[in-house]
């Protein structure tokens, strides 16, 4: 049974097919309005989420299907000590496809091994979040017309940000990509990703602590939040926090077609004044997230029927 646990479960050609499918859904929504009629999506969210759960539910509803599930572990049998495997086997009797978020890393893989229906990883702790990566890829594709020959800047917490790690991994499979890593010393991209992903795929990259100095180079700016709890002391946090807040004046030297992205939720790392800039793409990104999830649900259900 085909599932999506890690973005690398799909080849680049499969990702391209999904993006093409999402584009067709955007252009012809009526064509897809009843594609999943009679099908049920189970959203098993063992920890809270606003965007991802509602995005999956909206995706299934727009495909004409139905949704069931829970939005916190306390309202499931997990509270009674049921294993992930048993939950997955049980839900396989009720639904046609599962979207699972779980605080434990690897839980969706365990579910996929036990379930008789496709499982989509909707985030497992700090590990993987492949549908966010697909969302990011669709956003880049639509805003920039493809992936090749782009300079992509990642700014903020590059050490713990799972969305950053996954997107870098996914982009490293395309030609002509250049990566610019912008972060405080304390939150630099882990060396194993530089070695296993960037160096292994001959992806050129540069590291800097200064966002403004590299701004003119960037085609994409992927912002993430610098969190207070990641610092060893308050002084360092206070010294660095404003360096990684995007404000209109920092965009003065940016390209006119820069695409500013953020996985959301944001706290203060992008000032509200940037929202009115036509280069701000983060709310479009949310919308694209629904369309790529529609494409994904369709693909996995079609493969399950085969």
């Amino acid at each position: 049974m085909r599932s999506l646990i890690d973005i690398l479960d799909f080849s680049t050609s499969e990702v391209d097919e999904l993006i093409a499918s999402a584009n067709d859904i955007i252009d012809n929504p009526a064509k897809y309005a009843e594609k999943c009629k009679g099908k049920k999506l189970a959203t098993l969210f063992f920890e809270p989420s606003t965007r991802t759960r509602l995005s999956f539910e909206a995706a299934m509803l727009e495909l004409g299907g139905s949704v069931l599930g829970f939005s916190e572990a306390n309202s499931s049998s997990a509270a009674k000590g049921e294993s992930v495997s048993d939950t997955a086997k049980t839900i396989s009797c009720y639904a046609d496809i599962i979207a699972m978020r779980h605080p434990k890393e690897g839980a969706p893989l365990v579910a996929a091994q036990a379930a008789s229906i496709p499982v989509i990883n909707a985030g497992d702790g700090g590990h993987n979040h492949p549908t966010q990566t697909l969302t990011d890829l669709l956003t880049i594709s639509r805003e920039k017309g493809g992936f090749e020959n782009l300079t992509v800047g990642f700014c903020g917490d590059l050490k713990f940000g799972r969305t950053v790690h996954s997107l870098i991994t996914a982009l490293s499979r395309y030609k002509g990509i250049k990566i610019v890593l912008i972060s405080p010393e304390e939150l630099k991209l882990p060396s194993y990703i530089k070695k296993d992903v960037l160096a292994k795929n001959n992806i050129p990259y540069e590291q800097t602590t200064d966002l403004e100095s590299v701004m003119p180079e960037l085609d994409i700016l992927y912002m993430t939040r610098v969190q207070r709890e990641r610092f060893f002391n308050e002084e360092d946090y206070l010294r660095l926090k404003d360096s990684y807040i995007l404000e209109p004046r920092k965009l003065t030297n940016a390209k006119s077609d820069l695409c500013i992205m953020h996985p959301l939720p944001r706290v203060n790392e992008i000032s509200l004044a940037v929202d009115d800039d036509p280069r701000a793409c983060y709310f479009k990104q949310v919308l694209y997230g629904k369309y790529i999830r529609m494409a994904l649900i369709l693909k996995l259900l079609e493969e399950a029927q085969k």
Binding site: K104, E105, G106, D124, D196
Partner: protein, 138 residues
């Protein structure tokens, strides 16, 4: 130092000195009934010093464990007092229930009866990662 020859069993030879006990522990040799000898710091032309383990019984042996701890070790299979096979091993692609993931956020810490599986992700550096959370094995 004399250790009797074995009749039916295994001689795990050319173990890098100091790794013999780790193999002994991971193979669970402290729980078997047969005679087992672990010889440490034996003179070796190849390594200078080496460890040797002799197991005097035809018990099931997980060769992957030996490959994981020391892929340079050799396994001599003895039947009726004769060497019938000399096996050279390498790092196994997968380790199942040999080591446990130490990441407290990994599903293997809470899911009962789940197999602890590690995949070889970098053969040159000998790096294994948990199949579930991708944490590097120590």
């Amino acid at each position: 130092m004399n250790i009797d020859s074995i009749t039916n069993g295994f001689v795990i030879d050319h173990i890098i000195a100091g790794r013999g006990m780790r193999i002994y522990e991971l193979l669970g040799l402290d729980h078997v009934d047969c005679s087992v000898a672990i010889i440490k710091n034996v003179n070796s032309k190849k390594h200078g010093r080496k460890d040797i383990i002799k197991i005097d019984a035809d018990i099931p042996i997980d060769f992957d464990v030996i490959g994981y701890v020391d892929p340079g070790a050799t396994i001599n299979i003895i039947r009726d007092g004769e060497l019938v096979e000399k096996r050279f091993i390498e790092l196994p692609e997968t380790l199942t229930n040999v080591i446990k993931c130490k990441n407290p956020r990994c599903i293997t810490t809470t899911e009962q009866e789940i197999n602890h599986i590690f995949k070889l992700t970098d053969r040159d550096a000998g790096i294994y990662r948990c199949m579930y959370c991708e944490t590097k094995a120590n």
